[in-house]
């Protein structure tokens, strides 16, 4: 008889923080106390609060233990489970009130979220189809098979769901177009090539609730008239591949995939295709080529995949988060879906809150939530008392939201107005120490690397832009560079073949729009206001702070620092390579960086 369950978060971040050894200790201690038959240990998908990992939750109480280590995990068994005493030392302390949180319901990071897409992540065992079914899993598939395909599509149209992959295209319309397209067979594809660096919601859904995607793809197959689905996952996510593969096997065993599903005479199956590290494959036409086993180069649209996709047949392609919404919309109806979010952007959005923010992790909030709520109320603000500068959204295709727009409701349309895009939901918080020119250069470097080379504006244009940005950061910026960047950027946007090229200049355009003064400082004053761009820095010794410990002179790789023991040291600027190792090693803050 099971009396307690220990839910151990096995999301990517918790595994990195030592989840495996925590789990092993828990299992060992349960055995030592002879209660291994009474207490079940379950590894779940990501619970979201990555910064607090590894996380262990004890049910039925729901006690939320954070930052558990192999050393103190035994306390959860010996104190909580054996003696019935909560382990206070492992509870989360709310920083302002200093109150101890007993359950996740007492932690502001969780209470402000609305979990729909992530409703099962961190709650169920991702390897157990029974647990998914117990949470109404596969109910939607059963219901859908009793509806007509047109009725299913109408529910989606009414729900107003928009594609969560970035562009926000109405999902219902896409399904309708694929259903109406001539040609057979038709295919259902899931885009799990989460390429935006800084986003990991798709990974978490695939790892934490894989059956929700299996179910949604089966519903899609029935609605558009397809018998074969393909799940395309990037190779960087081995655990997601493993768990999804397992889920497909279980679904077949239970009759949710295969022939004559639920006795409704509908056949559908899913195959996994693994990416191989090409960002451009997140673009739908490139992804389809990759599934065909070819080089992932995009093609001109139209024709859209709905008309001519995989092997030139009508193909429905949605991303993971979009699919994750489908079963619940079918089960609960369009009205329910519209009960949160805004009129034109109903439902929730999952954001990966990362960068310079206290509580990093995955958060799901209603569309239209403000950046302030995300960064400060949920994210707990900026660490180290630093000042918020901007949030970057949309990765290499996006731009920045500055402090002036902290109170703007975030949705697909509002972010577009200020020159960025929602993207897949990566939200990278930047503070005063981040240089916007450097960030824009970083993204551009990414695009240069990832450009597939098929069209000239993207292949050559982004490289030209990158070389200009590099010059600016190296202190060789010239008068007219900003204008040249703008001109080239507009040309690339207008003439590139696919979304990757068309959006590649966005990070530069967006940062020029809001931080032109920083560009000017780099170009005209040869200064990096945030002290990031290496070649624009000068390191020097502050004489009244230097105690003459010689640490810096010994560390300097080019012997640019001279000075005797207990005497003030001097940096020879002509030799200095600005590597910063003196700055890092000095324990007396005597090295000045400016």
């Amino acid at each position: 008889m099971i009396r307690n369950q220990l839910l151990v978060c096995a999301g990517g971040a918790c595994i990195t923080s030592g989840e495996k050894s925590v789990k092993d200790v828990l299992v060992d201690e349960l055995k030592k106390n002879g209660i291994e038959d009474e207490v079940q240990v379950i590894e779940t998908g990501c619970m979201g609060a990555c910064d607090l990992g590894p996380i262990v939750v004890v049910y039925p109480e729901g006690t939320f233990y954070q930052k558990v280590t192999a050393e103190n995990a035994g306390l959860i068994v010996n104190e909580h489970l054996v003696k019935g005493r909560t382990v206070d030392g492992l509870l989360y302390t709310e920083p302002t009130s200093e109150r101890k949180a007993q359950t996740s319901g007492d932690i502001p990071f969780y209470t402000r979220q609305v979990k729909r897409v992530l409703r099962n992540c961190g709650v169920i065992d991702p390897l157990s189809i029974e647990e998914y079914i117990a949470r109404d899993g596969y109910f939607a598939l059963g219901k859908a098979l009793e509806m007509t395909p047109d009725d299913i599509i109408q529910v989606l149209v009414d729900s107003g769901l928009r594609g969560r992959g970035g562009a926000g295209f109405p999902t219902g319309r896409k399904w309708k177009a694929t259903r109406e397209a001539k040609g057979s067979p038709k295919y259902v594809v899931c885009n799990g090539d989460e390429g935006d660096p800084g986003a990991f919601m798709d990974r978490s859904v695939l790892e934490g609730d894989p059956h929700s995607i299996v179910e949604a793809m089966a519903i899609a197959g029935y609605a558009i008239g397809a018998e074969q689905g393909y799940m395309y996952v990037r190779a960087e996510y081995p655990l997601a591949i493993e768990r999804f593969e397992y889920a497909i096997g279980k679904a077949r065993e239970y009759g949710f995939l295969g022939r004559n599903i639920l006795g409704a005479g509908f056949n559908f199956d899913i195959e996994i295709r693994i990416g191989a590290g090409a960002f451009v494959c997140g673009e739908e036409t490139a992804l389809l080529r990759s599934i065909e086993g070819k080089r992932g180069t995009p093609s001109v649209k139209p024709p859209f995949p709905a008309q001519s996709g995989l092997w030139n047949k009508p193909t429905l392609i949605n991303n993971v988060e979009t699919y994750a919404n489908i079963p619940q919309i079918i089960t609960n109806g369009a009205e329910w879906f519209r009960s949160v979010g805004t009129l034109k952007n109903p439902g929730t959005k999952v954001f990966a809150l990362v960068g310079k923010v206290q509580n990093t992790g995955l958060v799901e909030v209603p569309m239209g939530t403000t950046l302030r709520e995300l960064v400060f109320d949920i994210g707990g603000g900026i660490p180290g008392g630093k000042k918020f500068k901007a949030a970057q959204t949309g990765g290499p295709s996006g731009g920045v939201i500055t402090a002036d727009y902290l109170d703007m409701p975030i949705d697909f349309d509002s972010v577009k107005e200020i020159g960025t895009i929602m993207g897949s939901g990566g939200l990278v918080v930047l503070d005063e120490d981040n240089c916007m020119v450097d960030i824009a250069k970083f993204y551009l470097g990414f695009t240069v690397d990832e450009s597939c080379g098929k069209c000239t504006p993207c292949r050559e244009g982004t490289r030209q832009m990158y070389q200009m940005m590099e010059r600016i950061c190296d202190g060789k910026g010239r008068d007219g560079d900003i204008e040249r960047l703008n001109k080239l950027a507009n040309m690339i946007e207008d003439t590139s073949l696919c979304g990757l090229g068309q959006s590649a200049p966005n990070p530069v355009l967006s940062t020029i729009r809001f931080y032109e003064d920083e560009y000017r400082a780099h170009i005209y004053e040869k200064k990096c206001p945030s002290h990031v761009c290496k070649h624009l820095l000068t390191y020097s010794v502050t004489p009244d702070k230097c105690v003459g410990c010689t640490a810096c002179a010994r560390q300097c790789p080019v012997h640019a620092i001279t000075g005797e023991v207990k005497k003030i040291h001097v940096i020879d600027q002509s030799k200095c390579t600005k590597c910063g190792s003196c700055y890092e090693i000095c324990r007396f803050s005597a090295i000045r960086k400016e």
């Binding site: 996510y237 990093t360 970057q392």
Partner: protein, 166 residues
């Protein structure tokens, strides 16, 4: 003169075993159509990299032109045409890692190992790779060594870590 593959396999039972595993994998594929990338993944797992003879084998087994196989292998970052070191150090330079100092970590690893991304140390101990996001952004900056992921890394911590891998 280069020996043909069949003769070499007769002399080298180890190599033969590797080719047999790949052959069996291809044989089990339900639909060989479009399976080239999955097959190459498996081949790289078996051989560690993708030398000419493996590409030739895959080409004839799947009945895909060699030019196509070569084109696919060189298009995707994941596939390597050169042997890898015993350990692969992968530094993440996704955005979250970059803004939290991933670059300093990368520079430290480069200096410590004396190689750049895509290279292998002369003693064959380490290969160095860069990756754009492993999806552990909450713990940035992240370094992956073989299958172990290390979060909240610093240049010093990573330099120490490398010593653990012989």
């Amino acid at each position: 003169m280069k020996m043909n593959l069949e003769d070499r396999l007769k002399e080298n039972p180890e190599l033969k075993k590797q080719f047999d595993v790949l052959d069996a994998y291809i044989g089990e594929l339900g639909t060989p159509e479009g399976s080239l990338i999955n097959v190459l993944h498996r081949a790289q797992e078996i051989f560690g990299y993708l030398p000419d003879e493996v590409l030739e084998f895959v080409s004839s087994r799947l009945n895909v032109p060699r030019s196509t196989v070569y084109g696919v292998v060189t298009f995707y970052h994941f596939f390597s045409r050169v042997p890898k070191g015993r350990h692969t150090v992968t530094v993440c330079l996704g955005t979250a890692c970059y803004v939290r100092g991933g670059n300093a970590v990368y520079e430290k690893v480069m200096r410590t190992l004396g190689i750049k991304a895509g290279e292998t140390t002369r003693d064959g101990r380490f290969s160095l790779d860069l990756v754009r996001c492993v999806g552990a952004c909450g713990l940035a900056p992240v370094v992956v060594i073989d299958k172990d992921t290390y979060g909240r890394s610093t240049p010093e911590k990573v330099a120490m870590l490398l010593n653990k891998y012989a």
